[in-house]
Symmetry: C2
């Protein structure tokens, strides 16, 4: 059997499947301390004969095999998790091969294998939720430079009409600070889900997300940008983003047809777990 | 012998060297029509027994081997060059193996082999000149997505004190439109080289270049960013960029020591040609 862990900053999801990625069991629990959380993870997997586990973790994390911080969570604001050797603890307890990458990367991989990026080689998966993050796949592999990307914190042009000070404690005018779920909610003083679809807030949101797409297009040059995360339940954002991206790019580079370029996640909330299972399968097949 | 071509939008440079990259002869001429320009290129190389040529061209260009537009110049504003089969014409005339990539990529490769990026694997070479462009090397290879990057046109936050409308005909507030040589000269109505080092213009310029570094750092996560091009003759920019990048990043990610992270080009104006020669050498060795 195959295993997957989607290790988020607020909740963990674990799943096991057969070799055809049919999910057999799933468990969810809140992210508390590393000891308590990992104990639940380990208890879950000990009940199944898993041969490999694909893990996507909140970050920043060490992703370079062979480096001392590989498999660790690094300088996260969640202090109890700082420098925690996630992969080391898990492998010691479960004694199975594990694939280790970011939470957004496993979702991107799920989309590549079974979602909205099937058949492609270069895709960016963006989550617009509590934070903004990107899983980047280039030539069918995860993109890493010296480490994984932090696309959510690129700087955007704040609209003159938008006087919100931003929700990112680090940056003025970064994408996460202007366009994440908490940014919307702090700006509007209400739940994002309760803001009507025709509220001008969504024009502003689409402007920021179109800027993010503009910059991603010019830097990574993907074949497709896939949007997931809670905020993207607002489906009216998709045509708005496409329109504003077209205006911003102004024919400087030719974009693929926009309804195939800016698309919603194909696997919904399952993208991460399914990606993790496919990564586990890849590990088993490589042996 | 080895050959190299740095095909710029305003001038071409061709060179030949021995197998140890000692340059034996160089020629420079203005970029006119494709026919006239290529004739001069071909006449130059026909005088030497070259076994391979490394070419870096202005763009956008087709860089994906096997695609119909590989080796072509694409939709450039220089109309005579649009859709010109640069590589095809050259190979037909000279009958030697040619390595084909962008002008900024060959400069990045020169820096990797013999300049300020020796020993590294992930570097971004930025030219700040008539335009802004980036050569991106990841795991010692040129970065391509669906095509090459166009980093010069990412959007920046325009300073409230800066009322310049931008020099890019496509975008409002892109890096090239705010921070290229022509942008400086249109804003200040004088030659950039004549603006004193203590003029506040250079603070503004450093702010924009620091924003570009911020975004490049979070997206590509390089080990080093190397700056070349005419504008970077203003050496006072380097400490200003480092300081402003530190302030903008605000410890969100840990940067390498800044005097090793933001550095001037090691090979000066020779980076492109030397990179082209190394690429020719690589082709010869691969045979
Ligand atoms: N229907 C909705 N419309 C707009 N925003 C939503 C909706 N549902 C959730 N959100 C926002 O998405 C954020 C949570 O994102 P989500 O992707 O579900 O979780 P996380 O990013 O923590 O994994 C919250 O800030 C919330 O405001
Ligand atoms: N010493 C200098 N100080 C500031 N700017 C300069 C200097 N020399 C050249 N430039 C600017 O650099 C630009 C030319 O860039 P350069 O890299 O030399 O050529 P290109 O980009 O066309 O290959 C011009 O716009 C010019 O204003
Ligand atoms: Zn931020
Ligand atoms: Zn532009």
């Amino acid at each position: 059997m195959l295993g997957a862990i989607e290790a988020g900053g607020t909740k963990f999801v674990c799943a096991v499947s057969d070799e055809q990625i049919n999910i057999v069991d799933t468990v969810k629990f809140a992210t508390t301390t590393p000891a308590e959380t990992l104990q639940k993870v380990i208890a879950f997997f000990k009940r199944y004969p898993v041969t490999a586990i694909g893990i996507g973790s909140f970050g920043p994390i060490g992703v370079k095999a062979g480096q001392a911080d590989f498999g660790h969570i690094l300088n996260t604001p969640k202090l109890a998790w700082q420098n925690f050797d996630f992969l080391g603890v898990l492998k010691a307890q479960l004694q199975v091969p594990c694939y280790w990458t970011t939470d957004v990367n496993i979702a991107a991989y799920g989309e590549l294998q079974a979602g909205a990026a099937q058949g492609l080689s270069n895709v960016v998966y963006l989550t617009i939720g509590t934070g903004i993050g990107a899983g980047v796949i280039v030539a069918k592999k995860f993109y890493y430079g010296l480490s994984h990307t932090e696309v959510g914190h690129v700087l955007l042009q704040q609209q003159p009409s938008d006087h919100f000070s931003g929700s990112c404690p680090y940056h003025q005018g970064c994408a996460e600070g202007l366009a994440s779920g908490p940014a919307i909610e702090q700006r509007c003083h209400k739940k994002a889900a309760q803001i009507p679809a025709d509220n001008p807030l969504w024009q502003l949101e689409a402007d920021y997300l179109a800027q993010l797409c503009h910059n991603i297009t010019l830097m990574f040059v993907p074949e497709r940008i896939i949007f997931g995360g809670g905020v993207m339940h607002q489906k009216q954002l998709f045509p708005l983003i496409r329109k504003q991206l077209t205006a911003k790019m102004n024919h400087y580079v030719s974009l693929p047809p926009l309804d195939q370029y800016i698309v919603p996640v194909g696997l919904g909330d399952q993208a991460g777990i399914i990606g993790g299972l496919y990564l586990a399968k890849k590990l088993v097949n490589a042996e």
